[in-house]
Symmetry: C2
């Protein structure tokens, strides 16, 4: 059953003209991460590589392609967690870097802290030699169009967000049984400056523990935080629920208690995995036993040998 990697490209409603790019993006990221795992690499390297690929892909709301805040700027959040030690690293409201997930990993590896925010995160990036990139290099035409549309006084950015794929994330178990997760986002469309969502918040945006499993979440951040969705699902697994049942229980609770929609990718130490969502769609992909699995709508589950080229 090991190794395994499961990836999401955000929960929501993907416009038809963008759905192929979303599927293609998560499948490419899953292949890249699985290549690392199959070559004997560890789960942390695999999830970080998967997320870097999606940050670099303008289709997703992370890195280049992030949604804009109300001022038309990009502020990004990211978190990695190591299930062996429970160590984590996060950045919140960070600007002018291409790959927030790499900076989050540096916070974990090179500091005694678990999260750096805003200008402090930028200073740390400079100290680590992470290149600064111009704001414009992170902004796509599509992101700018959506920002302008939602500046109207009667706009509903939370509703509108559902037309743009959200947060990206990955969970993996390597051959040694070590579990890791990584999640990265541009956050909420037209958010206030300095808004921090669920992604860098341990237990909400993701959580990994070698003894239980890992979850990476996507959806309405403020709702995810209210129920600490990632940790909630893992508690259900500690109570004996399967990855699938635990994920569904967590998402159902979020819907009934706080009227929130979202999606998750989940693994357990044995390599069982799930990609579940209460939103209309979630682009997801998984790789295990040399087979690529992927889907977008509820109930969709395509499979393909991992050795053939990317189907999209």
């Amino acid at each position: 059953m090991l190794p395994v990697v499961v990836i999401h490209g955000g929960a929501g409603h993907v416009p038809r003209d963008r759905s192929d790019m979303s599927i293609s993006g998560v499948c490419s990221a899953a292949r890249a991460a699985y290549g690392i795992l199959r070559g004997g690499g560890n789960s942390m390297d695999a999830v970080v590589e998967a997320v870097i690929q999606m940050e670099n892909n303008p289709t997703f709301n992370a890195g280049c392609g992030s949604v804009l805040n109300v001022k038309g700027e990009v502020e990004m959040d990211a978190l990695v967690m190591d299930g062996k030690t429970l160590a984590s690293g996060a950045v919140s409201a960070v600007r002018n870097i291409a790959n927030p997930i790499q900076l989050a990993r540096l916070v974990m590896d090179k500091t005694t802290h678990a999260c750096l925010t805003a200008e402090g995160a930028s200073q740390f990036a400079r100290a680590m030699g992470v290149p600064e990139v111009p704001l414009q290099s992170l902004i796509t035409e599509y992101a700018r169009m959506r920002w302008q549309k939602n500046l109207a006084h009667d706009a509903n950015p939370v509703e509108s967000q559902m037309g743009k794929m959200g947060t990206v994330g990955a969970v993996a178990v390597d051959r040694e049984g070590n579990i890791a997760c990584a999640t990265s986002t541009g956050g909420l469309l037209n958010k206030m400056e300095g808004r921090v969502g669920d992604t860098p918040c341990i237990g909400s945006g993701s959580y990994a523990d070698n003894n239980i499993g890992a979850v990476s979440t996507t959806g309405h951040g403020e709702a995810i935080m209210k129920v600490t969705l990632a940790r909630l699902i893992l508690f259900h697994m500690e109570q004996g629920q399967s990855v699938e049942a635990a994920s569904d229980l967590g998402l159902a609770f979020m819907k009934s208690r706080v009227n929130g929609l979202g999606g998750v990718v989940t693994v357990d130490p044995q390599g069982h995995w799930a990609a579940r969502f209460s939103s209309l769609q979630m682009a997801w992909a998984a790789a295990q036993k040399d087979t690529l699995h992927y889907g977008l709508y509820t109930g969709e589950h395509f499979t393909q040998s991992i050795d053939v080229p990317n189907p999209h």
Copy 2:
């Protein structure tokens, strides 16, 4: 059993010359919060008032009296949570305001977000008419002395932190059965600029749910985050554990799994309460049935009628 409020003034090791001030501070805060509850006020107003009193008291590491970051500046984190709706508000790395807990409450009440950080939080404070205060008004001589001492290359700020009371927090249940929590901190001694700890991280620094109870935590922030301590304790309560047993299970897990020390105050919907810690000391106070309870060392539990003046 209702109403009840339980307060902590941080886990650690309090120097003898400061222990009286710590006890006095938590007792005053408990009296003030209990006065609100006894007058029919709600739990959110009570916990926020308790925390404001401790932020204004230079004895505690929150508001005035906060520890300094490595640059000699004050950056503060705070979180409130409403157990009825699971709504929360937080600020992280915020500067130049006297009462971060009030700003956290404004984030909850006046925005659609759950957390604002750094400069974005400052902008929001200005928009809300929260007065800016000079950095110097938040810095005590004691905080400056400890900062300088820990600038030495061989200093161990995490160890040294244990000589300074930490984070402050409160949990309460009002007559209606509504539960709230509030936590505020200056963070970790000589932290990097932009370091965000457990306090503004929902499920780590605190959590409140009318159906389960509430927890506010203190101790080594990075360890608390690794185990999402507040939510962990509430999961034990959902499994049928008492407030005391659940608190001890959470603290014991944090010690065994990640070698972390800390303390918590916990309530359940029936008004059972606990103040537990694995550190050497934690200044705590509780008020219930017109009786004030308080202590500092393990096993200490003094009681007094709430109607007599503050004993210290």
